[in-house]
């Protein structure tokens, strides 16, 4: 199965700034997903990122706050913009490796906003 390298693994940011999280997959994948996991909570889907088209955002998440890029079939970025302490969470990317056979996850980015 695919392996995803996610960077950074953690960061502490000042409120009002932005952070870009990168995910690099070691093989071409059709679909990539970005999730948020608030402290002690489950994973919530932010958006689905397809190469060559705009990301599809879930209810409660907007492009201005969480812009996503998917320039090719092996790479995606998520930016958390104009951060506030409420954005402190773990952010994870995931890739669908074909059909519903498997979903590989990055190791997550622990973001703390102060």
């Amino acid at each position: 199965s695919a392996v995803i390298s996610q960077k950074p693994s953690r960061d502490i940011c000042q409120r009002g700034t932005s952070l870009t999280i990168q995910c690099q997959v070691d093989s071409q994948v059709t679909m990539m997903f970005w999730y948020r996991q608030q402290p002690g909570q489950s994973l919530t889907l932010i958006a689905t990122a397809n190469q060559g088209s705009e990301a599809t955002y879930e209810s409660g998440f907007v492009i201005d706050k969480f812009p996503i890029s998917r320039p090719n079939l092996t790479f995606s970025t998520l930016t958390v913009s104009n951060m506030s302490p409420e954005d402190s969470s773990i952010y994870l990317c995931s890739a669908s490796t074909g059909g519903n056979y498997g979903y590989t996850f990055g190791s997550g980015t622990r973001l703390t906003v102060v």
Partner: protein, 113 residues
């Protein structure tokens, strides 16, 4: 819309014993997949086991097996011969035609030596 419910926020099991984690789900789709993921403190999401809804046979992976009751929309995970390394948060998840995963709220499993 898909929903996944895990009613056990915490479970504990004695080492070498067997434990069952519960999961129920709801979906309007006829073709879907069910998963159990393990998340240790490292945050890495690790696939434990996968079940295709169209298969009646319950999936098994070594010490891990599921009890898939399609009519009841139930998908429980049984861990046999529990080991200390099994301690983690376990998430049940469902995927359908949109290919995105919908997760339950998780069950924190503690393994007692």
């Amino acid at each position: 819309a898909q929903t996944v419910t895990q009613s056990q926020p915490e479970m504990s099991v004695q080492e070498a014993e067997t434990v069952t984690l519960s999961c129920t789900y709801d979906t309007s789709e006829s073709d879907y997949y069910l998963f159990w993921y393990k998340q240790p403190p490292s945050r890495q999401m690790i696939l434990v086991i996968r079940q295709e809804a169209y298969k009646q046979q319950n999936a098994t992976e070594n010490r891990f097996s599921v009890n898939f009751q399609k009519a009841a929309k139930s998908f429980s995970l049984k861990i046999s011969d529990s080991q200390l390394g099994d301690a983690a948060m376990y998430f049940c998840a469902n995927s359908g035609s949109a290919r995105q995963l919908t997760f339950g709220s998780g069950t924190q499993l503690t393994v007692l030596p």
